[in-house]
């Protein structure tokens, strides 16, 4: 099949990006960021709290981790719920033992269905980030604008009604947005999104929204569920990443250094399993004991960054 003549013309081929969401800048070219108390690596623990309806929807796409077998998929429905019933409580205990605060990206349905869980998260001083309605609440540009607006408004209203919290941050399911999402989030007064993975520090969109990049590569879903490494292998990777970032923060041939960030995206039904939780506990003990680590929720990292812009 032949191609139209204009296949070799490039209307957005010019300096900068081929879109208008944000400007280009290199991380090393920006003024160095300083984290509180002279710490050099902000460690951002982000936990996804997800409820997968047993009737999956494929419009606009089926969320990663969703149902697999023909209906009724007890296997996946229940193991995902294991995270919300059991695994997450192991994680909360591990955070408390290490004396660290995390962000919890919460489906509105989780806040409504599991009030005790949300109480426990809030009682321990963790942050709540909005994370759609439930795991059927996916977004792409195939979703009609009215439907996307309703989905985001519904997510925020239901999360606030159930938890009493008006979140500052938003994580889309599978970090998937439409052309409109960034503006809709801003209209709702959200301060930051975590969806764009192109950087390792916060940066600002032209519409005012801050992007706090939640690295997909560093998630337990990617490393343990997809690439099939052990929890110990995952923890080793987190340490390798931390060590590199701490060295980079001190300055190298290509950067003056300055604060760096290690996002650790974890999932109760994955890392919260009995045979894996110890790897998380040991990692938290290790990192919380390091002089250069600042373990903080996303909103605090965004605020610390914002004060220096």
């Amino acid at each position: 099949m032949s191609l139209p003549d204009d296949y070799t013309t490039y209307p957005r081929r010019a300096e900068g990006y081929d879109h208008d969401y944000y400007d280009w800048s290199s991380m090393h070219g920006r003024a160095p960021v300083a984290w509180p108390d002279g710490k050099s690596v902000a460690v951002w623990l982000c936990v996804s709290l997800e409820w997968f309806p047993i009737m999956p929807e494929d419009k606009p796409f089926r969320a990663p981790g969703h149902m697999v077998t023909p209906y009724p998929d007890y296997r996946h429905y229940t193991v995902r719920d294991y995270g919300n019933r059991v695994g997450v409580f192991r994680m909360l205990e591990a955070f408390k033992a290490a004396g660290v605060k995390a962000s919890f990206a919460v489906n509105a349905a989780v806040a409504e269905r599991y009030a005790e869980l949300i109480e426990a998260v809030l009682a321990d001083g963790h942050e709540i980030i909005a994370h759609s309605t439930d795991m059927n609440g996916t977004i792409t540009s195939d979703l009609a604008e009215a439907d996307e607006r309703a989905l985001i408004a519904d997510s925020l209203a239901r999360l606030e009604a159930a938890s009493g919290i008006k979140p500052k941050g938003w994580l889309s399911i599978a970090r998937s947005q439409s052309w409109r999402t960034a503006d809709i989030l801003t209209e709702h007064g959200l301060k930051y999104t975590c969806d764009w993975v192109n950087d390792e520090l916060p940066y600002r969109f032209k519409n005012g929204l801050v992007n706090l990049p939640l690295n997909t590569e560093l998630s337990d879903r990617m490393i343990i569920a997809t690439q099939q490494h052990s929890a110990e292998g995952w923890a080793q990777m987190m340490r390798d990443a931390f060590d590199w970032l701490a060295a980079e923060a001190r300055g190298t041939a290509y950067t003056k250094g300055g604060g760096r960030m290690l996002p650790v995206h974890i999932t109760p039904y994955i890392i919260g399993q009995p045979f894996r939780i110890r790897a998380l506990e040991q990692l938290l003990t290790d990192l919380s004991g390091r002089a250069d680590a600042w373990i903080a929720p996303g909103a605090e990292i965004v605020s610390a960054w914002e004060e220096q812009q």
Partner: protein, 294 residues
């Protein structure tokens, strides 16, 4: 190639154990070239009926921003590790990167890297192109890279590895010297073209960081071990047979430059760099040396 034939006629069969020997400079036994892919993926490319650009409706936020990590963060991390261990890059370049982010290309120029074309964008595929369109992207590549780097490109890695039956003939016609698109050998080999001459230089899919991480799901440490084993074997064979081998390390900064992978990668490069059998070379030098010996 022989279009429509079951054997595309890309090259003659030359078994590894019975072919003319090639000697690398100074008695080195394995030429190691590092090939960073410096790419630009468009957020909203036009459709090509033969291949979809993004799995999701545009914008595919993760797909796009994942690759953009190279051009904001990880290029410099990867490049510095290469420089520290004395490896120049031979860059597989989406040439439109010269327009979008000239800072990235300039960094490669300052480091003394060689450039070759990887198409205009990694989201514009050659499948279905007319001869005029294919000539246009070749001429665009030559002119754009000349303007941005002062180099006349001599090599080609097809955009997103998409070809037409005429690509290799056209490359020879435009006085290109090598293609990175054929994976049939561990040594430089002659490619059959309609007129002129073209060599294939071993690039590698198997030790490409994309395969290592996103196909085989290796950890950074496993990938580093795989590079060391690949090198050790090729250097030993080159030594034993008296005929130089070629190892390519094809990289993408957004993969190898992730903070959990770059440290182990540096250890692998340091290992290879310290070995006296290693010829740290650019693609063009390897091909030119081989061609002169034919």
């Amino acid at each position: 190639m022989q279009e429509g034939a079951t054997d595309p006629g890309l090259y003659d069969y030359h078994p590894y154990n019975a072919r003319p020997k090639i000697a690398w400079p100074e008695g080195k036994t394995c030429a190691v070239w590092v090939a960073p892919n410096l790419e630009y993926y468009e957020i909203d490319p036009p459709a090509n009926p033969h291949r979809k650009s993004w799995p999701k409706a545009h914008p595919d936020v993760v797909g796009y921003s994942y690759r953009d990590h190279s051009n904001r963060v990880s290029h410099w991390r990867m490049a510095d590790v290469m420089s520290r261990h004395g490896f120049p890059g031979s860059v597989s370049l989406s040439v439109a990167l010269c327009d979008h982010h000239p800072e990235v290309v300039a960094d490669g120029v300052e480091r003394g890297w060689e450039f070759f074309s990887h198409g205009i964008y990694n989201t514009r595929y050659s499948y279905g192109m007319s001869e005029a369109q294919e000539r246009a992207i070749i001429e665009d590549s030559i002119e754009t890279v000349q303007r941005a780097t002062g180099q006349r490109i001599r090599g080609w890695l097809a955009p997103a590895l998409t070809h037409t039956p005429r690509t290799l003939d056209l490359l020879a016609e435009y006085d290109f010297r090598y293609t990175c698109d054929l994976y049939h050998d561990d040594q430089v080999q002659e490619v059959k073209v309609a007129k002129g001459a073209l060599a294939s230089i071993p690039y590698s899919l198997e030790v490409n960081d994309h395969y290592g991480f996103n196909v085989y799901g290796m950890s950074g440490r496993e990938y580093a071990d795989c590079l060391i084993q690949q090198y050790e074997r090729l250097a030993e064979e080159g030594e034993r047979t008296g005929s130089g081998t070629v190892m390519c390390v094809p990289l993408h900064a957004y993969l190898i430059g992730q903070p959990h992978r770059i440290g182990p990668f540096e250890e692998a490069l340091a290992h290879i760099a310290a070995d006296s059998r290693c010829w740290k070379a650019r693609a063009g030098e390897i091909v030119d040396h081989w061609r002169a010996a034919q």
